[in-house]
Amino acid sequence: MSLHRRRLAVVLSLALLVLSVAAAGCSQGAANQGTGTGGNSAPSTPQIAFYGATNDTMVFWDPSDSYSNEIIAMNNIYERLLQYDPATNQFTGVLAKEWQTSPDALTWTFTLREGVKFHSGNEMTAEAVKSSIERTMKRGNGAAFIWEAVKSIETDGKYKVIFHLSHPSPLDLVAASGYAAFIFDPTVAQKNGEDWFSKGNEAGTGAYMLESWQQGGDLVLKQFPDYWQGWSGKHFSKVVYKTVPEAATKRQMLEAGQLDFVEMLPFEQVEALKSSPNVTITTTPSFQNLMAFFNTQKKPLDNVKVRQALSYAFPYNVVVNDVMKNYAQQSRGPIPKGLWGHDDHLPQYTYDLDKAKQLLNDAGYPQGGFTLTMTYASGDENERRMAELYKAELAKLGITLELKGMPWEAQWDQGKATKPQDRQDIFVMYWWPDYANPYSFLYSLFHTEDKVLFNLGYYSNPQYDQLIDKANGLAATDRQQAIQLYGQAQELLLQDAPALFMYDQEYVRAMRSNFKGYTDNPAYPNVVFFYNTYRE
């Protein structure tokens, strides 16, 4: 090797070495600043809370249209007249300090809190409340239908709003809804154009107001100085919503203190986090359950005995234990545990192949011998695993189950197909209520429909329809009586078995152990009311 070549080799090698050392060196200082942001920040830095979301935080910006993931932030920017706590079945006044209904539940009067300001600086008045709700109803987007009973809204002075209904309806539950019940400053939309909100603006009364937002990046909220509850006590000065789709990254960020709260993690990541000393895991029954609707208009599922047999053939415990890792429990009827109307005394189908065989025999299918198609949402691993297990069980009865994982739109389109023979036999779907009302489950999923929407078992039973409609009217005035009627209606459902009630899901939250003040309220799924939280 010549001297020149050797010298050149040394120079090139050195260049590579210098490059790597420089890279590591210049990053080290910054890395020290970069890690451990959450808990280890310098005393001068403001108290900032970090929420780790799986999906993009903001989809709809318009408080009238909001019907998606953005409710996790919207509930800190906007407020409603009332707040509902399913654990105690109690309402708390938020923007309304008092409310009452007429004995016939057709007139609801809300007296507003005085001196509440919007982020725009204007005062929250009866006129603003009336305009907000009217705008939401007029736009008719998202969950606006929850106000369907409202005939007219009038104001009485500056702080009194009166709702006139066309039929009795629990307006307290509606006014406390997580969707479509936000009160906003309507004058800003009037002044800046109808799509002002959609462009990424807000005008709420909430504790936090928008500081900055970038598509795909962080949403940053800051304290609203004029918030009506004031800022004494421990509160975060800012809230940052970070979208972290990759579960492993999210878990590591939580462990490193870069996130305070994570709304959803795959079960294996939750198990791995359990040994982490700085992380707390909490579980709460959610209002979400998984159901499979039997096509009650198509052979052989038009036979109630076949549907009952299929209900006995589902491996409930195996699915809850092995697929859901016990972060779920077998459903007892369509109303999930935790939501009023849920009845702990209702009978439950259990896994019993002998009974299933007997019922099939009675129905005239002693050897099974038929094929059913079951559609479910593709990409949902839990649904897929559940479906495979069910398929294996039905095979033991001589029933072939064909599984079709499909995108939601395609699955739903097939379910709504005009010709009944083009529809699936079994339709798997999650349901959660638009607001904390069991009527959402019982009406949307099982009430007779002229045009198919969500009654995807095509069930129709006039006696059932009558029971739940009556109960909904009573929900406003006599909730105990309503619960009783809902119980009777659910018994009918279990008898007719238009659906398989698989499991009620639990919310599994992972958060830093020093993140305090959080309570999971399933009426507002995935929402952290940051005003109540602080870092210890």
């Binding site: 090797m1 020149h4 070549r5 010298r7 050149l8 080799a9 090139l12 090698s13 260049a15 590579l16 490059l19 590591a24 210049c26 990053s27 080290q28 910054a30 890395a31 600043q33 970069g34 890690t35 942001t37 920040s41 830095t45 900032i48 970090f50 993009d56 989809v59 709809f60 910006w61 019907y67 008719g140 987007n141 998202g142 969950a143 959609s198 990424g200 970038q214 598509q215 795909g216 990046g217 940053v220 800012k238 940052v240 970070k242 979208t243 972290v244 789709p245 990759e246 492993a248 990254t249 590591q252 960020m253 490193a256 870069q258 939601w408 739109e409 395609a410 389109d413 045009k451 929407l453």
Partner: protein
């Protein structure tokens, strides 16, 4: 040369027009209802119908296409079905993040790949060459996703010297905010003299950039090595040595320059390719860039976003190809532009 360039640009525009048509048709024939997507999972038929009219989806497909093209000519790429924001605004927010990452990744790839290739060629069949081979073959064959996680494990979790994810530290971002600028954090913070921000950005860039650089670095090293070995056999190199030219003169002035041409093509094409394919790197490092945006657009059949991303990357491909051809002519006098 000017005539050649103009002709290539004209051809490029024809290619892009054809591409818009093909992409539009493919994105629209897949079984999905953009109006239903727009309204969310529980929309009623009436709401979906209203959205269909609002989005112009009730018109025949050719009308929709012509309308799209007319809007595009005005710089309007439509509104994303998924994010409900103008696609142009979305791209403007995502693009700098990805471009910054890819540029730094490519610079790293070149800085590592070229010396590695040169060293391997100079010391053919020596331990240096073997080492170079092991490094480059390994870096080409490691799955991106796996490499990214291993780097996180080593440099974040075990050594604690590099950050885990994100473009910049969240606290730094809030305490030393950057004024609006180009969107390239490194450049903006440098121009604004915002050193904490610059430092943090650089640190956050390291792991994703190294992950992204692994493949092209190995590729460039192997290409440089083989081209240089070929060039070393040429008569003019032997002649140079016979004349007693210094080894560095021979290597850099004659051998490397001739060996660079094929590597340049690879680098340019990998650059354009990386812009749309950084999804895995962006996912693991939570990088708010175009790769993730493109992947989300595909999985949700968000056709305006798919169109926007495709047109942008295709335009870049075309532009880079033209530039590479011109650069080749500059590097290699044998290449004639005609």
């Amino acid at each position: 040369m000017w005539a050649y360039t103009l002709r290539r640009i004209a051809l490029g525009i024809v290619v892009l027009l054809g591409l818009t048509l093909v992409t539009f048709l493919i994105a629209r024939v897949v079984p999905s209802d953009p109006a239903a997507r727009w309204m969310g999972p529980r929309a009623t038929a009436e709401q979906i119908g209203a959205a269909r009219v609002k989005l112009g989806l009730d018109k025949p497909l050719y009308v929709q296409y012509l309308r799209y093209m007319a809007d595009m000519a005005r710089g309007d790429l439509g509104t994303s079905i998924r994010t409900h924001q103008p696609v142009r605004k979305d791209l403007a927010a995502m693009l700098p993040a990805t471009v910054e990452l890819v540029v730094v990744g490519m610079v790293l790839a070149v800085l590592v790949g070229i010396p590695l290739g040169v060293l391997s060629a100079m010391f053919r069949d020596s331990p240096m060459d073997h080492l170079g081979r092991v490094v480059s073959v390994t870096s080409v064959s490691l799955p991106t996703f796996w490499l990214a996680m291993i780097l996180q494990l080593v440099f974040f979790k075990s050594l604690g010297i590099l950050p885990l994810a994100d473009r910049v530290d969240s606290i730094i971002k809030l305490t030393y905010p950057l004024r609006p600028g180009t969107g390239f954090y490194l450049l903006d913070s440098l121009l604004q003299g915002n050193w904490p921000f610059f430092h943090s950005t650089l640190a956050h860039l390291m792991l994703p950039a190294v992950t992204l650089a692994a493949y092209p670095a190995g590729l460039v090293a192997r290409m440089i090595r083989s081209s240089m070995l070929e060039v070393y056999q040429e008569d003019y190199i032997r002649l140079g040595r016979a004349f007693g030219f210094s080894e560095s003169l021979i290597t850099f002035r004659y051998a490397l320059r001739n060996a660079l041409a094929p590597a340049l093509t690879v680098i340019a094409l990998t650059f354009a390719y990386s812009l749309g394919s950084t999804f895995l790197v962006e996912a693991v490092f939570n990088w708010p860039g175009m790769g993730k945006y493109a992947a989300d657009a595909v999985t949700t059949a968000d056709y305006p976003a798919i169109m926007g991303v495709t047109i942008f990357i295709a335009a870049l491909y075309v532009a880079l190809n033209i530039l590479v051809d011109i650069a080749q002519a500059v590097l290699d006098p044998r290449v004639q532009l005609s």
